[in-house]
Structure formats: structure tokens, C-alpha cells
């Protein structure tokens, strides 16, 4: 049973346009949600996070939206740049204080010049 799901395995957008990556979760005990970015042959790197008590967090070109009632979050990248092409993982942290993150299966974003 996958508690964090990214239903779109891939997304292709034109440079300068908005990229929207989606993530759904099932466990209402998650207290933080994070987005990670991963390039080939590298480890995932932290991008942006949001607390479960907020509905939006913005950092430069990256904005994460959280809809708790729908158990859904999304990452918006605007404007998209070719260097944003990577695999994006959604992750959720359980409020059990172990620090464990549960990851989605990732969405591959391709930004075309």
C-alpha cells in the first residue's frame, strides 16, 4: 500500500511555461511534506517543504500547495527552465518523530528549450 503516490510518471513542458507536479497521500498523520529533485547518478536533493498546518509555501520559482481535505499537494515551477529537467520526488514525514520520510515514485520532468 503506497501511502504517497505520484500518478504521472512523466511531464514535458516548454521553457518559460509553468510545470505542475502532483502528489497524493493517504495517511492523515503526515505532518510535513517535502519535494526532492534528482539528477541521474546523483542523490535526491531537497527543494522545498510545507508544514501540514499551511496551505502554501513559496521559494523563488518554486511554490508548493497543500490541500489537506483532498490529501493532495502540488509543486509549481514558474517559469520552467531546461535545468529543471530531473526526477521530482514527493515525500511525506510521519508525525511519529522518527524522521522517516515516505517517498512517491517520482515524476520525470523534461523542460524543452
Amino acid at each position: 500500500d503506497q501511502q504517497v503516490k505520484q500518478n504521472s510518471p512523466s511531464l514535458s513542458v516548454q521553457e518559460g511555461r509553468i510545470s505542475i507536479l502532483n502528489c497524493d497521500y493517504t495517511n492523515s498523520m503526515f505532518d510535513y511534506f517535502l519535494w526532492y529533485k534528482k539528477y541521474p547518478a546523483e542523490g535526491p536533493t531537497f527543494l522545498i517543504s510545507i508544514s501540514s498546518i499551511k496551505d502554501k509555501n513559496e521559494d523563488g520559482r518554486f511554490t508548493v500547495f497543500l490541500n489537506k481535505s483532498a490529501k493532495h499537494l502540488s509543486l509549481h515551477i514558474v517559469p520552467s527552465q531546461p535545468g529543471d529537467s530531473a526526477v521530482y520526488f514527493c515525500a511525506a514525514r510521519h508525525a511519529d518523530n522518527t524522521g522517516k520520510l515516505i517517498f512517491g515514485q517520482g515524476t520525470t520532468l523534461q523542460v524543452k528549450p
Binding site: L34, E42, G43, T45, S51, N97, L101, F103, G106
Partner: protein
């Protein structure tokens, strides 16, 4: 001065062999993790240690044995390797979830160790 470093980066071995992957972090973090990324690209937690103490063990076969000699190191030893163990193994570290303030418990990952079992 890599924050989280793993060795080796690539490992090819035969079924039945025993192998180890080493991980070191220089971030001063108390908590370290091993994650496995399988062929379906899911990143799944295997183990977590906090200050050399095991705190998470996610139904991993006991052929996998983590060892933490100190809080900056978390090694993964795998006995009797099987074909299904082929994956990329990621080490990560984080600060403990302290009281007060906003601590997302962000994980810092190593580059991964790709294990191929033939």
C-alpha cells in the same frame, strides 16, 4: 568535502556473495538512514540510526545488517546476495526533530551505490 559520501558507487557481484557499502556524513547530524531504490524507482526506507542506536527497521530480510560505529558512519552489510537485491542504495542523514522552531527533518542524501547481483 562531500556532505554524505558512500562507497563504492558501483558494485557488481555474484549471487551468494557478501558485500558491504559504507557511508559517512560530515554534517554533524545525529540520524542516518539507508534507503533502497528498486527497479520501479520507489525510494523505500530500510533502516535508521540515531546516535548509533537503531530506531527504524522496516521489515528488511536479516541478510541485511546495518552497523553504526559512530554517529558519523552507517555501513550496510549484505549476506548471501540474491538477484532481487539489485538496486541503488542511498544513505542519508538528518538533524533530530528537536522541540520548538520549524524543523522539516530534511534528509541529505549521498550519491547512491548501484548494486548489481548476477
Amino acid at each position: 568535502d562531500t556532505a554524505v559520501s558512500q562507497t563504492p558507487k558501483y558494485l557488481v557481484t555474484q549471487m551468494g556473495n557478501d558485500k558491504s557499502i559504507k557511508c559517512e556524513q560530515n554534517l554533524g547530524h545525529d540520524t542516518m538512514y539507508w534507503y533502497k531504490q528498486d527497479s520501479k524507482k520507489f525510494l523505500k526506507i530500510m533502516f535508521s540510526y540515531n546516535n548509533k542506536e537503531l530506531i527504524i527497521n522496516e521489515t528488511v530480510p536479516n541478510r541485511f545488517s546495518p552497523k553504526s560505529p559512530d554517529k558519523a558512519h552507517l555501513n550496510l552489510h549484505i549476506n548471501s546476495l540474491e538477484l532481487g537485491d539489485s538496486a541503488v542504495y542511498f544513505c542519508a542523514s538528518s538533524q533530530p526533530l528537536g522541540r520548538g522552531g520549524e524543523n522539516t527533518g530534511e534528509l541529505f542524501f549521498g550519491e547512491g551505490s548501484r548494486l548489481t547481483v548476477l
